[in-house]
Symmetry: C2
Subunit: 264 residues, 2 copies
């Protein structure tokens, strides 16, 4: 089972119809059981599932690190991941999916979700700064990697850039899953997020921003657009957010002090 599957389809083109084989992106349901209890079903690309599960558990605040996982068994045939945790965060469990209203920025909630406020701290290391060209360079290398995988354009890609190199790269039909795979992989490798740049092909929504913020990643950059709520959160959390990073252009929406020569 890979990212894609071949299917027999009908192709219509300006009056003519032909039967043809076409490549279609896979969508794979993986159901997570924690301590035997069914927890959630992720619809994902059927690759790097262990990284996905570890990253998901980290992002949802169920574990603080890989060491909190007692065992993780993935049954790919049945689409099941059985997880035993050494210590489960009771709070995260109780709060799962629940929400409180805060008045962030006086215009709507910032943390609309209690569990998202757990583990999410304001990023401290203002010492770390980066140039526009370095971000453009990273995105160029990120795009080159994506080219290798590109087939139907049905998947999102996500990566972690450190010291100008793409250290971790993953793809998934879901941009949230791609980010969780990158986080899970990086944590298993013991990488330091302190001077990392999170790169994504998809929109930077509040959920994407919170995922990288929880890991202490100071900069997040996307080939596409951020949402207003993601920018508000980035301002609150002292995160540098860059969008529409394409060719020789990019926009910076928050955390200007981390970008060299932002005066204008």
């Amino acid at each position: 089972m890979s990212y894609y599957k071949e299917m027999e389809i009908r192709k219509y083109d300006d009056g003519g119809v032909r039967c043809a084989a076409d490549i279609v992106v896979e969508e794979y349901p993986l159901t997570l059981f924690i301590a035997g209890k069914e927890f959630v079903t992720l619809l994902c690309s059927p690759e790097d599932l262990e990284y996905l599960v570890v990253g998901f558990l980290l992002s949802e605040g169920f574990i603080r690190g890989n060491k909190d996982i007692g065992s993780l068994r993935i049954d790919k045939e049945r689409g099941i991941a059985e997880i035993e945790l050494k210590k489960v965060s009771a709070l995260a469990g109780k709060l799962y999916g629940s929400r409180t209203i805060t008045s962030g920025c006086g215009r709507g909630p910032v943390f609309y979700n209690v569990k998202d406020s757990i583990d999410t701290r304001v990023i401290e290391n203002d010492g770390f700064s980066i140039g526009y060209d370095s971000i453009l360079q990273l995105m160029k290398r990120f795009d080159e990697k994506a080219e290798v995988f590109k087939k139907t354009g049905g998947v999102h890609s996500c990566a972690l850039g450190i010291e100008g190199r793409i250290e971790v790269y993953h793809e998934d039909i879901g941009r949230h899953n791609a980010m969780d795979k990158v986080i899970g992989h990086a944590v298993k490798e013991g990488l330091d997020f302190g001077e990392a740049v999170a790169l994504t092909s998809g929109r930077i929504s509040s959920e994407m921003l919170v995922k990288s913020a929880k890991r202490g990643i100071p900069i997040i950059a996307s080939r596409s657009a951020p949402t207003a709520l993601a920018v508000q959160l980035a301002e609150k959390l002292n995160i540098t957010l860059a969008g529409f990073v394409r060719g020789r252009r990019l926009n910076v929406y928050s955390g200007f002090h981390r970008i060299k020569h932002t005066a204008c």
Copy 2:
């Protein structure tokens, strides 16, 4: 509060930096309370929220029709929707989020989710058929409507085409929300889905397919790609699925019998 918000950003372009106002897409958290119990938070575009809630409740199997809603009060300022149901489907409630493994097509689950199998029936009306040109015409009108709204390209659009006309059209940052808004609106208007075509700007995932299948919509078409699981479900449910509908071209992945002259 609209789809977009203006923000002060830094624009970098080939060596030059300038401060500029930019339009960023809104992302609005709406929390649904059913009978006073917090149920779920939807991250959406802050428009047509009543249609979104009604469509969501229909898609999730909590109601069979608008008449099952006792009251619906939306507090836009606090991002809260308070819902009272005349009769709640206890089964749907109990099964919410749970899943059973079936052996659909012998390759992974088809209904990975029990609640998705509720209300989802095989589409019967094979009498209804449509020509390639009619689908291309509908998508053209759909694109024209999208043009009117297009600003940052940050939103997905979804519509219902009946007898060559776009009867209902909605947008949202989430393609699932856009579909739920269209469904909620159509159900409140009392439209008949029997000879309707669901149109979407985004990928046709299994969830999108199931949403339209539950309403008995026989044809679903997208400007972009379907997933393999969505095509498998469409085959099982006798639904005609068209993808990459652009200009004078389109692909048909299932339900060929509903398209005129599919022989090749």
